[in-house]
């Protein structure tokens, strides 16, 4: 008895120190295997312990068995078949996945039923008696930690002490496992968040859908999976691949072909779209797939596939597919997949909406300007239009030219204040109203006055400036011009010899007051003279030093307005080169008298 007591005391003296060092190790280790080695060593150091085993289970399925013996310092790990049928596991404690370990005693000479495969391994190491601690690590995840002894301790106190130690070591393993799982989960979240942040940056890098998706697919391999394919609904309704990427250059074309042509793949992406939820397939679920574990595609075997539907504003846009060569358990979580799919769908939606809007603006802008200027025997017409920036709003500048029923040429230039849909609507109204009246031979000032009345009737808050000139050939090669302007910059005349004169013409802008006080003027344009009309975008462009282009305009008109097709465009280009600030739209219309008797 004394001997036994002193022996227990002797172990006790070193046990707290050993246990303490194990708890310290539990704070540092990076995986369970490393922790297990420390714990096995602690028990193997005990007298009479011949071998220790650790097994990890998923429900009734054995995930691995590790065995360490005093004879061999290394642990051997086996994975594979084994069943724990009928082996009771401590139930989870309320509110916790883990539970206090339960210790069982096994007499190995009586057989190892209910203790396989550890019993046999311990018996092979010469053990006849075993203590087994079973403990729960997660919902369906449990482990068993056992020690094999040469014989059942004859002293009950020794048995009790060993049982207590086994429980203590199991608790170290439970705590260590929890910390490792939490640290991994934390790291996984960090990686996911970093990935999502970088993906968002890539999505902002371009307003082209195809390029954006190619960039996202590239970013995702191998961060999320080894392969990635994106399908979008094509104009004709079906899903078509728009981007694919694979970490291996020689596998990428194969993946792109499958994404385009394979019926199994097509069914799978359809299924994800219909269900509206992420579909993940692995193992036997990949039977029949072109990239299951049993097919001979290039590259490594595919262990899993995930397909996330892409949806924005309640509309299905397509799918995002990942191909995993890595283990099934490395399939990205739904948090990442759903989040990425949501961001990608929004980026696609935004980009598509942008492209559509830009197309609409371009179409609208085209309709607000004449398709072609009329050919008129006595004068050539040149026009140019510059949109100030790549704004998505329709500008309000307009110009037009029409030959009236008596053969006179009427030219129009104008500017509706502001941009956007209302400005565009008023621009259309103003241009077509003036055109209709001028075709009928109405005088410039009367046409402008009529437009003023119509604008006032519309009750718009926007004002319009406009200038109309009607050119009548005098029969000798020159033209008589009658010019009326409503709040519009005065036109310039460039005489044949290069002299530039301003045509002073005044009147209030349209759409504000009933009386516009228009003061029309008349002038004579000789052969070789040009009438140069423009909107305020031309005059109000400013250089870096604050000088308006207006100050340089006579000189620019003298130099640029010559008889050639690029006349108006040349003037606008000169202004653009000069401009440092100011970004209004600019329209220029030039009528050059040819001198042909008409």
């Amino acid at each position: 008895m004394t001997t036994a007591n002193s022996r227990i005391d002797g172990i006790d003296a070193s046990w707290p120190a050993r246990l303490h060092s194990l708890w310290l190790a539990a704070q540092d280790v990076e995986n369970v295997e490393e922790m297990a080695r420390h714990v096995y060593a602690a028990m193997l150091a005990e007298d009479d312990v011949l071998a220790v085993t650790g097994s990890r289970w998923e429900g009734d399925r054995l995930r691995y068995l590790r065995v360490a013996t005093t004879a061999r310092s290394t642990t051997t790990t086996t994975t594979g078949a084994g069943t724990a049928a009928g082996r009771p596991v401590p139930p989870p404690e309320p509110g916790r996945a883990a539970a206090r370990p339960l210790v069982h005693h096994h007499d190995l000479d009586a057989g190892t039923e209910g203790f396989a495969p550890e019993g046999r391994a311990l018996a092979e190491a010469g053990a006849h008696f075993a203590l087994e601690s079973r403990f729960r690590l997660g919902e369906n995840d449990w482990a068993s930690y056992s020690v094999g002894l040469a014989e059942r301790p004859r002293d009950a106190a020794v048995l009790t002490a060993m049982t207590a130690r086994l429980v203590q070591l199991s608790e170290v393993l439970v705590a260590s496992n929890r910390r490792i799982v939490e640290a991994r989960e934390h790291e996984r979240r960090l990686i996911e968040d970093a990935f999502l942040a970088e993906a968002s940056l890539q999505m902002d890098a371009s307003l082209d859908v195809q390029e954006t998706l190619s960039r996202v697919a590239r970013l995702a391999v191998p961060a999320v999976a080894e392969g990635c394919a994106v399908h979008l609904f094509a104009d004709l309704g079906g899903l078509a691949p728009v981007a694919s990427a694979h970490v291996a250059a020689d596998v990428q074309p194969w993946l792109a072909d499958l994404a385009r042509d394979d019926p199994w793949f097509a069914d799978l992406v359809d299924r994800a779209v219909r269900s509206g939820e992420c579909v993940v397939l692995s193992g036997e679920e990949l039977d029949g797939a072109p990239f299951g574990p049993h097919t001979d595609g290039p590259g490594q075997p595919v262990n899993a596939v995930s397909v996330s539907p892409l949806r924005a504003r309640g509309k299905a846009l397509g799918t995002l597919t990942f191909i995993y060569h890595r283990g099934e358990d490395a399939v990205a979580g739904t948090r990442l997949l759903d989040n990425l799919a949501r961001r990608a769908a929004l980026a696609i939606d935004t980009t598509t909406a942008y492209e559509q809007r830009r197309r609409h603006v371009e179409q609208l802008q085209r309709h607000l300007l004449p398709n072609a200027l009329p050919v008129w025997p006595s004068a050539d017409l040149y026009a140019a239009y510059e949109v100030a920036d790549d704004s998505l709003e329709v500008g309000g500048d307009f110009y037009d030219a029409v030959v009236d029923r008596d053969g006179r040429l009427a030219v129009v230039i104008g500017d509706v204040c502001g941009r956007g849909a209302e400005a565009a609507a008023l621009t259309g109204l103003a241009r077509h109203t003036l055109r209709t009246l001028l075709e009928d031979g109405v005088l410039p000032e009367l046409a402008l006055q009529r437009l003023n009345t119509i604008l006032l009737d519309q009750g718009t808050t926007r004002f319009v400036t406009a200038l109309v000139a009607v050119l009548t050939p005098d029969g000798g090669g020159a033209c008589l011009a009658r010019v009326a302007a409503a709040g519009h910059p005065s036109p310039l005349v460039r005489r044949k010899d290069g002299l530039v004169e301003e045509v002073r013409v005044t009147g209030l802008f349209l759409g504000v007051l009933p009386d516009t006080d228009l003061q029309p003027t008349s002038l004579r344009l000789e052969a070789g003279d040009s009438l140069v009309m423009f909107t305020d975008g031309l005059t109000e462009a400013r250089s870096a030093s604050g000088v308006f282009f207006e100050d340089h305009l006579p000189e620019a008109v003298r130099d640029c307005v010559v008889e050639e097709p690029e006349t108006a465009a040349g003037l606008v280009a000169r202004m653009s080169a000069f401009r440092a600030t100011g970004s209004d739209d600019t329209a220029v219309l030039v009528a050059h008298v040819k001198g042909t008797a008409g």
Partner: protein
Amino acid sequence: MTTERGRRIDLGSVLVVEDNLEDAEAIERALRHTHPELRPEFTTRGDGLLEMLLAREALPGLVLLDLNMPGPDGHEVLAELRSRPELDDVTVVVFTSSTSPAEVDACYAAGADSYVYKPVNFTLFRTVLKGAIDYWQASRGAASHAPPVPRQQSSEA
């Protein structure tokens, strides 16, 4: 593992061609964590690389190649490496900070085995590097147990 031409491939050796010292340090740190068994070797320039490799008895299993470098850039180095059939069994992974589709296409057409985006975040950086290396280790490991498949020469394609 030995190539058809008898030159030994050392799968544990990785040659990192990276002129940015911070990136090189990050690669070193990442590999030490995820693949402590690998022996990375660093060089900051692409010139002389081909001669250096050809003079060796054992070739590195993998070359990690940056694209933007002074002197010959990554594209030039890649073209040079792939012009030599002796280096066919060396896996070349382009590791760069661009996701431009044109850049990817150019590298794949020039014979890169992988094109991997270099993320800003270190944890993600480590993850993608691990993903690429794991893939090629598994791939080369499987290949060394199977009869060798002749590699398509880009010049013949």
